[in-house]
Symmetry: none
Subunit: 272 residues, 2 copies
């Protein structure tokens, strides 16, 4: 009996596919964290990550609001920084009602569900991040994402509450798990899929990418490029966004670090 | 000029079509009534009806939770019985996680949106009803409906919170009306659309991109990076492919040329 045979499990995720993580960035109210956990449970998501929750953690109100999804809330992982929360992820989407001036792919929740399903089934770890109640995600957080998710809303009432935003993505995720759409894979590999073909590779881990950002920005500071100081944040975001659009593999990150090292090597050691 | 001609208004509601009413049957918590009103506002629904709200009406907590949708909450109509609340309706759907033993059409939220849109555009007044927090709709209430709406959920976590259930229907209603418009429109730009957002820009010309390639590869040759010679063609192709995936704008090309210049500037002129 081959238990991993996809034919045996028509309604399950393909073996090895981890559903996306939900990352709440600086959430404020415990109730909203709990409601978000409950929405996750309703639609088959389980990994909840919290970045610097305002009222600390654990939070009794969050556990109460989660209702039957209490295990999801109590199992949440807490991080001090967004970078740490995303470090093991290969693909990250940011939710916002207003895609701003960033050059980044914009996905509806429905398209995001399709995109993330394809990626998780390729073995990628994916995450969707949501900002806090007051202002949502700031530009620096969004600059750490590969894509933006924006829902169709009344343009005059565009601001979803935090748990409602989580629910929409989770609902579309569940809708996309239609069993009929699965099970087409062979023993060796699945059919060709739309999207970026990266045979045998996955996108770089966020940790690798953040290391590249640090290397690049340090080198650019040293070279006097990120000036004047008041323009530095915009320049840094713009460069990070370009790297995200590149969808670097680990090998690509190594290439870029090599390029930066080559450019910043002391002339006296340029033979090395 | 026939302004009511639907051909003239492909993305608008047909004149005379009233969006469905949302009927909350014996809701308990004011906050949940407010969250439901907010979800309605997010997705273009306006008529809220309350049947015997437990804590009376008006309810300060409901108005506060509604946030910007406060007018929807404060404009809610209160009825003593469900029959009165539905009296002027032509078609009614009941939401439940468990379609029970009733012989009634069962619709997904998506199909319900299509069905109710067709009916509202035929001049029918439609309503969707939701039960209270504790037990949802009872069998006698469901028996007053033409159809049942049930969402695809994890069978082990099937119970949606009241505002989340309202949100799902409202979201599908909005998706059915104008699915291309995403997010918040401003006076300066329209709603977001799917795809790579490139506000006010177009991809760089090939000439600009080829100029960047030449600059980059010359600098890398000078830095001794593109070695050994037999690997140079592969390395060059790999770097060019990364730049293509980046989908550079003209401004991005200028940024990269600035970066290369900053890195390759003679140390003696690094103050320049």
């Amino acid at each position: 009996m081959e238990t991993n045979d996809p034919v045996d499990k028509p309604t399950k995720e393909r073996a090895g596919a981890t559903p996306p993580s939900i990352v709440l960035v600086k959430p404020q109210l415990g109730e909203n964290i709990g409601f978000a956990a409950r929405a996750m449970g309703n639609f088959g998501l389980h990994d909840l990550r919290l970045v610097a929750p305002r009222d600390g953690w654990p939070n009794e109100k969050a556990l109460a609001a989660a209702a039957v999804a209490e295990p999801i809330a109590s199992g949440a992982t807490v991080f001090e920084t967004l970078e740490e929360a995303l470090a093991d992820c290969n693909y990250v989407a940011a939710t916002t009602a207003r895609p701003r001036e960033m050059i980044k792919p914009v996905l509806s929740p429905e398209t995001a569900s399709t995109t993330l399903r394809r990626r998780t089934q390729s073995g990628e770890r994916c995450a969707v991040m949501f900002g806090g109640e007051r202002n949502g995600l700031d530009n620096d957080s969004i600059a750490l994402a590969d894509a933006i998710i924006t829902a169709p809303v009344d343009p005059n009432f565009a601001s979803l509450s935090l748990p409602q935003a989580v629910l929409l993505f989770a609902y579309e995720w569940m809708k996309g798990s239609n069993p009929e759409a699965l099970g087409r894979a062979t023993t060796f590999d699945g059919p060709a899929r739309e999207g970026l073909a990266t045979p045998g590779t996955v996108p770089a881990s966020r940790a690798a990418l953040f290391g590249l950002f640090e290397h690049m920005e340090g080198a650019l500071d040293a070279a006097g490029f990120l000036r004047p100081p008041e323009k530095r944040p915009t320049m840094v975001r713009s460069i990070r966004n370009m790297f995200h659009r590149m969808e670097c593999t680990d090998q690509d990150v190594r290439t870029w670090r090599g390029i930066i090292s080559a450019f910043t090597r002391r002339p006296t050691s340029s033979k090395g």
